[in-house]
């Protein structure tokens, strides 16, 4: 893995933890014990990246997606249901609050061509790699 998830704010930078992360293959079976909302998967090829994130119940228009160079930031909020008098929670497990999540991508993104789709509570963001950032093949001329 060439890059790692950007350290969350407030968490102490731990180089050993980073090293462990390098060795760990990314598989479904090795999901982290807990993550910042919203949980995100990142899929990459040489030319583009697809970021999918589970944001159920969020108004897609209230989501803020920003791309700067190789970092993607998601901002939004999900508030709890307002309770009227005489109403009470039996269970309260769903996440609520405001979130800001920044992901570092392995390459610089062509920010004009980023597309985002929202369906069934899942947001998918398509991020093409910047032309200037793509690897160039250099042909060797023999004299």
């Amino acid at each position: 893995m060439l890059w790692s998830e950007m350290e969350r704010l407030g968490r102490v930078f731990d180089p050993w933890r980073q090293l462990e992360g390098l060795n760990r293959p990314v598989r479904w079976a090795t999901l982290p014990a807990s993550v910042d909302f919203p949980p995100t998967n990142v899929w990459v090829t040489e030319d583009n990246a697809v970021v999918t994130t589970e944001v159920p119940g969020i108004d897609p228009n209230a989501l803020e997606i920003t791309v700067v160079k190789n970092s993607l930031t998601l901002r939004g909020s999900r508030m709890a249901e307002e309770l009227k008098e005489g109403e009470a929670y039996h269970r309260r497990e769903r996440w609520k609050g405001q979130f800001t999540k920044t992901l570092e991508l392995p390459f610089t993104v062509e920010s004009d061509k980023v597309e985002a789709r929202f369906a069934k509570g899942v947001l998918s963001i398509f991020l093409p790699r910047a032309e200037a950032d793509k690897p160039r093949k250099i042909s060797v001329k023999s004299e």
Partner: protein, 143 residues
């Protein structure tokens, strides 16, 4: 009442009493809020990736089962480089008390969130147990 967690995790469902499913897919427990209102009980479940056609709600005797199917459209050409959530179906089972009017349960799915409105049975709504005073102003005697 418990506070909602700061972090979140998509929990895999524990082995169900009904046994394993024939289809080999992961099953997750959707996180729910349950609110009791004056006339009904509302179950709100986070099920990203699910819509109204892929959700099954069954009520057998007093066992309410919520099941949501999710298409696992993994990207074939891409490499998964960050994985914070798994994709799979959702299932959760609740035991209802008699106070729910079974015929009037309503379910809607919007943006990956299931809303289940279960009206209370009329008998329960109006039932108040009168407490009769025995000997007004008297002192309770301990026998």
């Amino acid at each position: 009442m418990t506070d909602t967690p700061r972090d979140m995790q998509k929990k895999a469902a524990e082995t169900l009493e009904t046994g394993e499913r024939t289809r080999a897919c992961r099953i997750y427990t959707p996180q729910v809020d349950i609110i009791e209102r004056k006339d009904d009980i509302v179950v709100i479940a986070d099920m990203p990736g699910v819509d109204e056609t892929s959700t099954d709600i069954t009520l057998e005797k007093n066992v309410l089962t919520i099941y949501g199917r999710v298409d696992t459209n993994e990207l074939k050409d891409h490499k998964l480089s960050l994985s914070e959530y798994g994709i799979g179906d959702y299932q959760r089972v609740f035991t209802l008390s008699d106070e729910v009017d079974r015929d009037k349960i309503q379910a809607t799915v919007k943006n990956g969130v299931l809303w289940l409105v279960m009206p209370k049975a009329t008998a329960v709504k109006t039932r108040k147990i009168p407490i009769q005073a025995e000997g007004v102003g008297g002192v309770m005697k301990l026998s």
